[in-house]
Structure formats: structure tokens, C-alpha cells
């Protein structure tokens, strides 16, 4: 039997290291999602295999259950996760390409931040002999190693796509291309949330099917004793919770919220943000948490 993939423990979920450092829940959630989005975009630009990108996002999400965003930035860790996952999936990428792509993505994001239009954006490639390149290279090597160490080298990731196909077959939905497409999309989007570090694959796949079939108004047996998710050993409450996590990705964000994460990609920005904001923002939730 293979080693089971790790999942965050209850204690790790309720009191993440970032939360302990006073980073509010919603900010942590947004920064996780933004970090995953950067991984996704870097994957596109690097023409990397989807399995490597998805695995990188899972490793990235796990990392924040053992490390605070005050200690490492989501940019660096995302870069390290993609570098590492590419090796694990036997499709390694060049350090230099990865660094260039991240540099471009971050430049583009901060360009948009100051309100300039995207058309005006001009990328200024860095020099390979300049400090930026070497700094980013160092950060990348450190990030990769820290991910390995802090995850105890247990970097096994199980992706949900095969399971989705099986479940749709069991539910006799494979002929409904719209269901397959929607559910597949939800599974992909779920990679921007922590659910893969929290729940087992069957639960997440059930949530994707739930969202897809509800949206398309396809009825499935849902009355006890014949509930379709029980075929797949999923608990309703968990399926529901995963569905909620995915749906929260699509809620409207204010411009301010959107810009906030772009400015907090680095740990030093997070630190100065904490100095300015922590006392008010963090106090409520942290005090509630420290009781547990």
C-alpha cells in the first residue's frame, strides 16, 4: 500500500500559522488563492503539464498549514512548489524560465495595481547577471527545500480527474458532456482553495458533481437511504463544505480586496501590513481561536 497523502489535522485547520501571526482569515484565503492563480498562470506561460501545476497547487496549500505567510511569501513558495512538482511529475522546468515567468507575472500585476491599462504594460526583462535574478534564484532554492522539509518530504499528491470519470460513469452521466465539463472545471477551480489539503479526493469529486448537477438542474437520488454521494463514501457535511469553499471563489471582490493581495506577495509586505493592521484586524478572530 502506498503512503496515504497527508491532510491537515483539525488543529492545523482551526489555527493556521498565519492566523497565529494575526493574519485575518479572509486575507489568508485570498492570498492562498492568489498564490495558486500565479502558479496556474506560470504553468500556462511555461506550457507545463496540467498534472504538475495541479500538484504544485496542492503542495502550496499544504504548506500554509505548517507555515505562516509572515515567514514566506506566496510568490516565492508558489514558484518553489511549481519547480518541485515539475520534478515529481517527471517534467522538470528550467530554473531560469520559471524565474522569468514569475518576474513577468509580478511586474504585470503591480502595473495593473497602479491603475494603468494592460495595453500599456511593457515587460522589462531582468539581467541574468543582475541581483534580481540571483535573489530570485536563491529564493527559489530555499522555497523548494522549505516545502520539502516542512511537508516532511511527504509530497505525494493524488489528483481527482480519474475519480471524476469513474463516478460519472457510475452515475450514468458520461453522456452529459455539460456535466463532465462543469464538474471538471470545478475540480480545477478547487485547486485555488485549500480543499485538497483538507479532504479526500472522493469528497471533493462529489462536491464538484453536486455543484455541476445542481447548476444544470439534473436530479440525482438524494433521499435517504439512497443518497448518491454515499455510493462514494462521502459525508454530506463534508461535500457541502467543499462546495461552499469552491463557491466562495466566485464571490464579488471589491477593487480594494483585489489589490490588497497583489501588494502582499512578499513576506516583507505582509510584515509591514501586519504592523499597520494587525491589532484591530486580527484581534477578534485570534482571541476567539485561542480559546480552543
Amino acid at each position: 500500500m502506498a503512503t496515504l497523502y497527508p491532510l491537515a489535522s483539525l488543529a492545523q485547520i482551526e489555527n493556521t500559522p498565519s492566523k497565529q501571526d494575526g493574519i485575518p482569515d479572509d486575507l489568508e484565503e485570498d492570498l492562498r488563492a492568489y498564490g495558486c492563480k500565479l502558479i496556474h498562470q506560470a504553468g500556462i506561460l511555461l506550457k507545463q503539464k496540467q498534472v504538475a501545476v495541479a500538484a504544485a497547487q496542492v503542495l502550496f496549500q499544504r504548506f500554509w498549514f505548517v507555515t505562516s505567510m509572515k515567514q514566506f511569501g506566496v510568490g516565492d513558495i508558489g514558484m518553489g512548489a511549481l519547480y518541485l512538482a515539475s520534478k515529481l511529475e517527471e517534467c522538470p522546468i528550467r530554473m531560469r524560465d520559471l524565474i522569468n515567468v514569475y518576474d513577468l507575472l509580478l511586474q504585470r500585476a503591480s502595473h495593473a495595481l497602479v491603475g494603468k491599462s494592460v495595453d500599456m504594460f511593457q515587460y522589462h526583462p531582468m539581467s541574468y547577471f543582475g541581483n534580481t535574478f540571483y535573489d530570485m534564484k536563491d529564493a527559489l532554492v530555499v522555497a523548494e527545500m522549505q516545502i520539502l522539509k516542512r511537508l516532511g518530504f511527504n509530497v505525494h499528491v493524488v489528483l481527482p480527474y480519474g475519480t471524476l470519470i469513474n463516478y460519472l460513469r457510475v452515475l450514468e452521466l458520461t453522456n452529459r458532456e455539460d456535466v463532465c465539463t462543469k464538474a471538471w472545471g470545478y475540480l480545477n477551480d478547487a485547486h485555488q482553495t485549500p480543499v485538497y489539503a483538507l479532504y479526500q479526493v472522493p469528497t471533493i469529486v462529489c462536491a464538484a458533481i453536486l455543484l455541476a448537477t445542481r447548476q444544470l438542474q439534473i436530479p440525482l437520488p438524494s433521499e435517504p437511504p439512497a443518497c448518491w454521494w454515499e455510493l462514494f463514501d462521502a459525508d454530506w457535511e463534508d461535500v457541502w463544505s467543499v462546495g461552499g469553499s469552491i463557491m466562495r471563489l466566485y464571490r464579488k471582490r471589491t477593487e480594494e480586496e483585489k489589490n490588497r493581495v497583489v501588494g502582499l506577495v512578499n513576506k516583507k509586505d505582509v510584515r509591514s501590513w501586519l504592523e499597520e493592521n494587525a491589532p484591530q484586524a486580527g484581534s477578534d478572530s485570534t482571541s476567539a481561536m485561542s480559546v480552543t
Binding site: M1, A2, P92, M95, H156, Q215, G243, G244, L249, R253
Partner: protein, 436 residues
């Protein structure tokens, strides 16, 4: 580019397979938004799901309906074997420090990684610590070291050495794999034991080896360095396959670019690799198992060649040179045309192994088969009549015990076999066009 703006369900299977779509288009917004428990923190994860608990009765109601615990309570189905309960998954846990262990003695010096015997300070367990070579820092953490750890973790089996954890030292370059300590390695044992293994014992060892390798192959792992010094044996007659330093995943859905050629220690290297094949698969491990089978019978390595050419000529001599029949693809191999074949002659297996039964000989020849397509698989070999004919495999408990060199009880260097060309393999990323 906006920060967190995602449109649901936009990534379709077909689009994903072909390319990475960046622009996410026009898809309609979802109208239905569930409101799971205020803020769906995964509070609902229960550390120990009990057999019976209240299940919400309104589960079929509209998604916006209340999710509070309903009044009906009923038996929750117990988990099937396919989905272990969530609590069976380990938590996310950082590596411990190597100082959790007390170093006892060095087991093996000289070769690539250094292996120590050590004691777990908490439990008192005796373990083996293998220090990974991380000097090659150009491409971050070496992919070979990742493969070794990954393979050990994903191939857990009664006959694969158990990995306990990976611990780290003071600097980023000190990483140790912690394994169960196993008293012997088969190479040292063969060199020091007074009498060779009995047929019944060889059968037991071969069955164990084959079932371990079948398990690895089922989990998409090639070992690629099977040889007697990488087979450990405890005092209870059980073999443990070790040293996954050259292992890697195979059969990934999308091509991974040619596998590197520089694998498998010379004496155990199959003819297709010697002849420059760039694609190879599970059959390489089966050739090595054939060499190990022969070594158990002979009490010394089968092909003790100095170089690749001598190795090939020894193989040609034992098997008879390859023919159109025995290896149709021979001439299409990179070196298939450069090497001049000796004139046709019959194989020498019977002369070399005069005391082996014909079933035994058939198994050996099925393993040491030229054409990797025709070579027996681990699965098939386990069903071979050799294992059911008399004498039957000996129960592992009936194996005698031997003094353990690894535990420092006795130390002797019988013969030195060459090691796999690992240094070259470490440069895998540099060889290809990947170096930054």
C-alpha cells in the same frame, strides 16, 4: 490582471488537454450560491467519524436550505475499503531533526550514500539512516533524491525496506532517509555464509523478490538497480528490496522524453540497455532478477565483466548470440549494427547450471531472455511451476540466522561489484538541454 477573479467551470477537459487557456471567457455566472454554515470553514471535519451520528435530514432540500442537524438519526454507512476514513491520513508534518537519533555505527562506507545504524532516542528502535548526496546544487533538490524518497513512500510492501521518515540536519544539504534496520545485505551474506542457500531457500527468496518487484511495477515504479547488495535480509528469512536511488516513475500519460541510459550496475544490466535502447520498461528489472537468481545458485555474480563489451560477449556466450527469432528488434537498436555478433551457437545454460531442475532452468531462461517484449514479467514469474515443484519453498522462519555485518558483529569484504553509474545520472538535468 485582477487578483482573484474566477469564473466557475470554465476549464473544460478538452481545452485543458490541448493547451493552457489563460483567458477565461464569457461563461455565465452561477445563479445558485449555497450558504454553507455561515462561512464554510472546514469545521465539519470530524477527527473521528463515529459509526452512528446524526445526519441532516434536509439534505435533499434546496441547497440554500438549512444545514443544521436534523432530527432523524440513522446509521451512517461504514467506510468501504476503497476510501479509508479521513483520520487514517497522516497530518501535515514537518521533518524532524536528525538529532532525534543517536548514531551508532557506519554500515557502509565508500559507495555513494553513507548509511548509519542509529537508535531512535524516543522509542529506542534501531534504524538505518541513509544520508542523501546533495552536493549537486545547480538545479535545486536533486530529482534523483526525490525519486528515491517518492519510490520508497509509494511502494510500501512486506518485501520492500520500510521508510519511516525523512529527517534533516543543520544545513539544507543534510537530508537523511530513515529506514527499518535490516541485519544483512544479500551480497555480504553470500560472501560470508559457509554453505550456499538450499533450493527451498532460494525459492522463498525469489518469491519475495518477485512479489516486491511486482508491487513496484504495479505502482508505476521501476527500480533500475536491482542487485544483491541492494537486497537486504533480516534474521527471519525475509528479503527487503532497498536502494531506490535510481528508481523512477514510468508510463506517465504524456511522454517524458527519453529515459536516461546510464542505469543499472553493469553486471545486472540488460542487453537492451547495453545496446543503447532509449525506451525501456519493467523488463529491465526482470533481467536483473535473472542475474540475482543465478547468483543465488552460484554463490557468486553471474556476469563479472570489466566493461560493456565484455559484458555483451559474456551474455552472447551464455545465451547464444541473438537471432531474428530470439530478438526481432535487435538490429534497430542504436548499437545493433555496430557490434559484430559471434557465429551462431547454442546457449550454455545447462552446462553452467548442471544441478538445476528443468523447471528452474526454464524460469532462469525466461528471465534472461534477450527480447524485453518476450521476457517474463514479475506477475508471470510468480506463477512459474518452479515454485510449486519439490522441494517447496522453505518457510522464512526456518532460515538460520547469521551474524550481522551491518550491526558490526562481523565485517568482511568478500568481493567488490561495480556500482551503477550514479554520478552521471545525477547530471541528468545537465545532460539534457535543461540546465539554466
Amino acid at each position: 490582471m485582477s487578483a482573484v477573479e474566477t469564473v466557475p467551470g470554465t476549464s473544460t477537459p478538452s481545452r485543458k488537454r490541448s493547451k493552457w487557456d489563460e483567458d477565461e471567457g464569457e461563461d455565465e455566472q452561477l445563479t445558485y450560491v449555497p450558504q454553507p454554515k455561515k462561512r464554510a470553514k472546514p469545521k465539519s471535519i470530524r477527527p473521528a467519524p463515529s459509526a452512528s451520528e446524526n445526519v441532516d435530514s434536509s439534505r435533499s432540500a434546496s441547497p440554500s436550505g438549512s444545514q443544521s442537524t436534523g432530527s432523524t438519526s440513522r446509521q451512517k454507512p461504514t467506510h468501504s475499503v476503497y476510501v479509508p476514513p479521513r483520520t487514517h491520513h497522516p497530518p501535515i508534518q514537518a521533518s524532524r531533526s536528525v538529532y532525534s537519533y543517536e548514531r551508532l555505527n557506519q554500515i557502509e562506507e565508500g559507495s555513494y550514500g553513507v548509511v548509519y545504524r542509529a537508535r531512535d532516542k524516543q522509542t529506542g528502535d534501531i534504524v538505518a539512516l541513509k544520508k542523501l548526496k546533495l552536493e549537486e546544487e545547480k538545479n535545486g533538490f536533486p530529482i534523483t533524491a526525490l525519486r528515491e524518497i517518492y519510490a520508497l513512500m509509494s511502494c510500501r510492501h512486506e518485501n520492500v525496506v520500510g521508510i519511516r521518515e525523512v529527517v534533516v540536519g543543520d544545513t539544507l544539504t543534510q537530508v537523511f532517509v530513515v529506514m527499518d534496520f535490516i541485519e544483512h545485505d544479500l551480497k555480504t551474506l553470500l560472501g560470508t555464509m559457509p554453505a550456499p542457500f538450499l533450493q527451498s531457500e532460494i525459492k522463498t527468496l525469489m518469491l519475495q523478490l518477485l512479489s516486491a518487484v511486482r508491487h513496484c511495477h504495479q505502482n508505476w515504479i521501476l527500480h533500475r538497480d536491482l542487485k544483491t547488495s541492494n537486497l537486504l535480509m533480516n534474521n527471519r528469512g525475509t528479503i527487503k528490496v532497498a536502494d531506490f536511488g535510481l528508481a523512477r516513475r514510468y508510463g506517465d500519460p504524456i511522454g517524458v522524453g527519453g529515459l536516461t541510459q546510464l542505469v543499472v550496475t553493469l553486471w545486472y544490466r540488460p542487453p537492451e540497455i547495453l545496446l543503447g535502447a532509449t525506451t525501456y520498461s519493467t523488463a529491465v528489472d526482470l533481467w536483473s532478477i535473472g542475474c540475482i537468481f543465478a547468483e543465488l545458485l552460484l554463490k557468486e555474480p553471474l556476469f563479472q565483466a570489466q566493461g560493456e563489451l565484455e559484458m555483451l560477449s559474456m551474455i552472447f556466450k551464455l545465451l547464444g548470440p541473438p537471432t531474428k527469432n530470439s530478438w526481432p528488434d535487435y538490429s534497430s537498436l542504436p548499437l545493433g549494427k555496430t557490434i559484430s555478433l559471434p557465429s551462431p551457437q547454442p546457449h550454455q545454460f545447462r552446462t553452467k547450471f548442471p544441478y538445476l531442475t528443468s523447471a528452474g532452468l526454464d524460469l532462469l531462461m525466461s528471465l534472461l531472455t534477450y527480447d524485453p517484449e518476450m521476457r517474463i514479467t514479475a506477475e508471470e514469474a510468480l506463477e512459474h511451476p518452479y515454485f510449486t515443484e519439490s522441494p517447496v519453498p522453505k518457510h522464512p522462519d526456518l532460515f538460520g540466522s547469521f551474524p550481522s555485518a551491518a550491526a558490526g558483529e562481523k565485517r568482511r569484504k568478500p568481493f567488490n561489484s561495480p556500482t551503477a553509474p550514479r554520478g552521471a545520472n545525477l547530471n541528468f538535468l545537465n545532460d539534457s538541454n535543461l540546465s539554466p
